[in-house]
């Protein structure tokens, strides 16, 4: 895992369960909710934002590092668990950035407690069924194929080879399998969305929200963005041309600029 030395992992007790949180950077806290394959590591965008932000990345239970909490059966359970972590550590309201599954979790948490986040950045979030096309089913391919297909053009994405430290080690295979298994427990059916989410989200959120998407996203079709936008009044959508499911690495310079401006 490409993680800077300055990134520390802390184990925090949340109720009866442990939660390992990777902490890096300094400044105002920013909650980072990782994707369905796990935490891809410390990327260029992390480095850029870490100058002014203390980034807190909870490594979700069952995704390899934090032990599995057997009672967490769905994304809403996981969201409530993370909300408890924030409350008990006096971190709420906090700014959040969530990627794919992490974006869905952020949306569930916000629907459940609209005051928990002061600002939200949702990057190609799952959670809402796209009105056209389906969310690409990660369980129909091995992890490396899913990783490859998450970007529009893996060969011409400079940071692609750094995601998950290349993704090829036996340790990473094991970590991917942990992540896939836990994602299956959370989101097997319906796959990667919750039919009640748009209803619970609708009109409840006051926090400024930035939605970021790649126009060529093959994982979560961009048609879902309009539903998110409708549900979160005043939210702004940035859609990148020639970009897949990972704007943070495929369009990292523009991504950093937009997120920095938004969080400023």
């Amino acid at each position: 895992m490409a993680v800077k030395d300055s990134v520390r992992e802390e184990t925090i007790k949340v109720g009866g369960d442990d939660l390992i949180v990777a902490r890096g950077g300094s400044g105002k806290p920013l909650l980072v909710l990782h994707e369905e394959l796990g935490w891809p590591g410390w990327m260029k965008w992390n480095e850029a934002l870490s100058e002014s932000r203390s980034m807190l990345t909870p490594l979700f239970p069952g995704f390899g590092k934090t032990p599995r909490a057997e009672w967490i059966l769905n994304v809403r359970d996981l969201g409530c668990f993370l909300a408890r972590y924030l409350r008990e550590n006096n971190l709420a309201p906090i700014e959040v950035i969530g990627f794919s599954l992490g974006g869905w979790i952020a949306a569930e948490m916000a629907a459940n407690d609209p005051a928990i986040f002061s600002k939200l950045v949702l990057v190609a979030p799952a959670g809402i069924r796209p009105p056209e096309a389906e969310i690409f089913d990660m369980f129909t391919v091995p992890a490396l194929i899913y990783l490859r297909d998450s970007v529009r053009d893996s060969r011409n994405t400079p940071e692609f080879s750094k995601l998950y430290d290349g993704g090829l080690s036996p340790e990473q295979y094991e970590a991917f399998e942990d992540a896939r298994a836990e994602t299956a427990r959370l989101a097997w059916q319906p796959y990667m969305f919750n039919p009640s989410l748009p209803h619970l989200l609708d009109g409840t959120l006051k926090a400024p929200t930035l939605i970021v998407w790649g126009k060529d996203d093959h994982v979560v079709p961009i048609t879902a963005a309009a539903v998110y936008q409708r549900a979160i009044k005043g939210s702004r959508l940035i859609a990148f041309d020639t970009c897949g499911h990972r704007p943070e690495v495929e369009k990292s310079d523009q991504f950093i600029k937009e997120v920095r401006n938004f969080l400023a």
């Binding site: 094991e174 399998e177 896939r180 298994a181 836990e182 427990r185």
Partner: protein, 447 residues
């Protein structure tokens, strides 16, 4: 000894009658790099209808020929097994046969959403057959989880809870309410319960999962190894025997079964020619893509770790399951085919396939029995082999091979689960268990 007859009921075209169709289907399987997920537009219902009836006829005839058990299994979405709902075939056999046990190895419990319905289906088969059902349970291959939309991450939990529930539904007076972790039934009161009491004998088939072996030993269920290699099978037998000792009983042949690919014909060359067809399309599940074999959470943590360390690249070759075929030319596929059939010599040497005349086959099967000492033994015949050849094989097995094996079984004391109840021989705490398998016999293989 309990001697059975098994086939996967492969969808095929007889290569001697329809060589082009047979080769075409095999190329499709190879191009797909998997039996699983082959587009069902390759299925011709006329052929399927004919084959299903032939396979049932064979099973009925094998009872006449003196086999003790008619073994069935179940797979989904694959041409190597037409039995996608094995209980339907079992119901036909329950009515059409009179004596043989109907052995289901096994029902994929985790993939059945309604375990109560399964309990009822099996109870009906037991009743119609007059108490001849031997139900078995499996977790289902990885592919079955996708084909049935069963969450693989809970596969073992579904399996263990489902089996507990079915036995409870059979044995606990109803009505009662059941609130488990995964299964919830507000009113359990199956009117139809099995004839055999307290419930039909349960056997468990498996490949090499230690978790399943230990679980069987705890439950005193016979474990049937599905054509696994002899050395690891011996290790599994020992594992079972040691666990049995911890449970306070001495395991014996009645706790073990073995499935053995065998082909018999009038001459050696013909038998081997037909035996080679076992490797058709890459030989069953052994030629499958990782997305089918290892769905998320299906393997234990230990198995995943082992695979991560041992496999050069466990992720490859992978591609989306909805993408059926590769783009290999016929010449490239022919090279793949030839490399697959070249493995025949290995499988012959390791006794993974025993094909020949009775004189060739009998000493080799005796060797398998000497090493593993199973109380249950099943012949396994598969591949694209025409009906006449299969029936001829069955007749020769029955006439020449089965009597010889019964003799060997008697000599070796291979009692089956109907002669001695599995788990019924107590073992005092602290006394060492006697090993059932005899690996020393491996030292002298028939020439």
């Amino acid at each position: 000894m309990h001697i059975m007859w098994f086939t996967e009921r492969q969808y095929h075209y007889d290569p001697e009658v329809e060589p082009d169709r047979s080769l075409q289907l095999e190329r499709q399987i190879l191009r797909n790099r998997s039996f699983f997920g082959l587009p069902n537009q390759n299925f011709d219902p006329q052929t399927g209808s004919m084959l299903l009836n032939q396979y049932l006829d064979e099973k009925i005839y094998s009872e006449e020929l003196g086999f003790d058990g008619l073994m069935l299994n179940e797979h989904h979405g694959t041409p190597f097994c037409l039995g996608s709902v094995m209980d339907v075939e079992a119901a036909v056999l329950a009515k059409a046969t009179k004596r043989a046990r109907i052995v289901l190895l096994g029902n994929p419990v985790p993939t059945v959403a309604n375990a109560l319905r399964l309990a009822e289906e099996l109870a009906m088969i037991d009743l119609i057959s007059g108490g001849r059902l031997v139900p078995g349970w499996v977790r289902g291959a990885g592919s079955e989880q996708l084909a049935n939309n069963a969450n693989p991450a809970y596969n073992r939990e579904y399996f263990e809870e489902g089996v507990e529930f079915i036995v409870k539904a059979w044995t606990t007076p109803g009505p009662f309410r059941y609130e488990g972790k995964h299964f919830h039934f507000r009113f359990v009161n199956p009117w139809v319960v099995p004839l055999q009491k307290p419930h039909p004998p349960i056997w468990i088939p498996g490949l090499v999962s230690p978790d399943t072996v230990i679980w069987c030993a705890k439950k005193r269920y016979p474990y049937i190894a599905l054509a696994t290699r002899l050395e690891p099978t011996v290790e599994l037998w020992n594992m079972y025997t040691d666990q049995a000792a911890r449970e306070g009983y001495q395991a014996g042949p009645e706790n073990f079964g073995y499935l053995q690919p065998v082909f018999v014909a009038d001459n050696q060359a013909r038998a081997e020619e037909l035996g080679k067809r076992f490797l058709y399309g890459g030989a069953f599940a052994h030629f499958a893509r990782p997305e089918w074999m290892f769905p998320p959470g299906y393997n234990s943590k230990e198995a995943t770790r082992r695979m991560a360390r041992l496999a050069r690249d466990p992720n490859l070759p992978g591609k989306p399951i909805h993408e059926g075929g590769g783009h290999e030319t016929d010449e490239e596929l022919e090279a793949i085919r030839q490399s697959i059939y070249a493995r025949y010599e290995d499988s012959k040497r390791d006794l993974q396939m025993i094909a020949g005349t009775p004189d060739y086959v009998i000493p080799r099967l005796n060797k398998v029995l000497e090493v593993l000492r199973p109380g249950i033994f099943s012949f396994w015949l598969d591949g694209p082999v025409g009906y006449q050849d299969r029936v001829r094989c069955l007749e020769m097995l029955s006439k020449h091979v089965v009597p010889a094996l019964r003799e060997t079984g008697k000599k070796l004391g291979l009692v089956d689960p109907f002669e001695r109840k599995p788990g019924s021989v107590p073992l005092a705490a602290g006394r060492p268990a006697e090993r059932v398998a005899q690996p020393d016999a491996l030292a002298s293989m028939p020439a």
